[in-house]
């Protein structure tokens, strides 16, 4: 049976354990629960009818033996030993009504459940591995064909695109997108250059408006552009520490003056 085959090493250990009383071979076990499961086999009964008390005794004897042989047991084996000693005393002594927590029977039942569950999962694992497996017992297609991805591009347009396209052609001169009208724009750099030349003369507070270049105040677009550029330039100059700026209140005229270096 595959389950047996799978358990092979465990079984042989348990046989030795049974035959030679106790040989401490901790390395063969995967932790205390595994050891307990192995020990439980020596009882040769259904795991459901297992005597947890006997099992606890066996385990404690195992740990005693290990101590005698001065073998280092991992901490979890000792934790389990302590817990089983506690369980043993609970199972042996009449229940103390003043004591809180689960009864010895409840704890024993849970341990039995854990052992049964572990055993069941081991058997299930063996059954699973005994199934026919892909690439071992049954096979997938050997010559596969890849799906070629073909990209097809379709083009689309809406009626609106069409009408706008037509309108664009027929009214070409109405639209001057993308062409910046430099004629009506003053850049910050231009304003800055201009202001650098003028600022030397600004000893006292002077309104910013008075620095706007001539001929730029008639056209609203030009006025906006030059005002923005000049203002940005004064901020730049203030940052450089060349001038000071003040404004009495919101929307009142902005005034600037030259900053005296030693001030």
């Amino acid at each position: 049976m595959p389950a047996e085959e799978f358990q092979e090493d465990v079984v042989s250990v348990s046989e030795r354990v049974a035959a030679e009383a106790l040989i401490v071979d901790v390395g063969a076990f995967e932790g205390p629960l595994d050891l307990l499961l192995t020990l439980s086999r020596t009882q040769k009964v259904d795991l459901r009818q297992i005597s947890i008390l006997d099992l606890a005794r066996q385990y404690l004897a195992f740990v005693e033996q290990a101590k005698k042989l001065r073998l280092e047991l991992a901490a979890d084996y000792l934790v389990m030993a302590a817990w089983l000693a506690f369980l043993k005393s609970r199972l042996l002594l009449p229940p103390d009504p003043s004591e809180e927590g689960p009864s010895g029977e409840e704890l024993a039942a849970h341990l039995a459940f854990q052992l049964e569950r572990l055993q069941a999962m081991r058997e299930a694992a063996a059954k699973l591995m005994a199934r026919d497996q892909l690439g071992r017992d049954f096979f997938a297609r050997g010559i596969t064909e890849d799906v070629q991805r073909v990209r097809r591009v379709t083009y689309t347009a809406t009626l609106l695109d069409l009408m706008q396209g037509y309108a664009r052609i027929r009214t070409r001169d109405d639209f001057r997108p993308f062409v910046m009208d430099r004629q009506h724009v003053m850049t910050m750099e231009q304003a800055l250059e201009r202001m650098r030349g003028l600022i030397g003369f600004a000893g006292g507070w002077t309104e910013l408006v008075s620095y706007l270049p001539d001929g730029w105040d008639a056209d609203p677009q030009r006025r906006r552009s030059t005002t923005a550029a000049t203002f940005a330039a004064t901020l730049e100059l203030a940052k450089e520490g060349k001038i000071e700026i003040r404004q009495g209140e919101i929307f009142s005229p902005i005034q600037i003056r030259k900053k005296v270096p030693d001030e």
């Binding site: 096979f139 069409l162 009408m163």
Partner: protein
């Protein structure tokens, strides 16, 4: 963990029935990564089998199916039936917006049909690339109309039924005129300053009328 009921030494026993042999050949051909020769089949199947015969049966069985058994050199393989090759391609359709040149060309054909290439170029103010016209023809949005009865008998372009379907038009005359475009806010309301670059639009809004005439037939 192969629960093979047969003992190891097959040769003492009769060969499996032909139906079984056919199954075996089928499985081997399916799983093997390369075409299989009859010699290989003999080597892999139980003693006494006749893979050549099994193969012939199998071949018949797959005749007309989605996959066929075909000969590759002196070996055999299962392959997709030739007519189903298209299933091995996965088409991904990517929708792209038509280029501006194509839209404008299409618009001109729609508004001015039947129109020659020279006329399209005159209206757009730039030459129309062959690719643009080809693309519109391929999309089945424009097609060749009658030749113009002028010197050189140039070919004309008209829009197709597909075009009308795609743009939800009953016919090309339904296309809104410039006036309507303007009132719909699709054009700036300002009249073009000065003369029109195309020389033919100086009539401005009258253009619409001209255009309407073009469609009168």
């Amino acid at each position: 963990m192969n629960k093979d009921p047969k003992p190891a030494n097959d040769s003492l026993f009769e060969a499996p029935p032909m139906g079984e042999q056919e199954r075996m050949v089928e499985a081997i051909m399916f799983a093997t990564a390369e075409p299989v020769t009859v010699a290989e089949l003999i080597g892999r199947m139980p003693h006494g089998c006749d893979p050549a015969e099994a193969l012939a049966h199998l071949r018949k069985r797959y005749d007309g199916r989605g996959v066929n058994i075909i000969k590759v050199g002196d070996a055999w393989a299962i392959r997709t039936a030739g007519d189903l090759g298209f299933l091995m391609q996965k088409e991904t359709v990517e929708t792209r917006k038509l280029s501006r040149a194509a839209i404008e060309t299409l618009a001109i054909v729609a508004y001015h049909q039947p129109v020659t290439r020279a006329e399209i170029e005159e209206i757009r103010g730039v030459s129309v690339s062959r690719g643009t016209v080809d693309q519109l023809i391929e999309l089945e949005w424009i097609r060749f109309g009658r030749r113009r009865m002028t010197p050189g008998r140039p070919v004309t372009f008209v829009v197709t039924q597909n075009f009308l379907d795609h743009f939800g038009l009953e016919n090309a005359r339904d296309l809104p005129g410039l006036k309507e475009l303007r009132s719909a806010g699709l054009l700036e309301n300002r009249p073009p300053p000065g003369a029109n670059a195309l020389g033919e639009a100086e009539d401005g809004d009258d253009e619409d009328d001209n255009q309407t005439e073009l469609f009168e037939d």
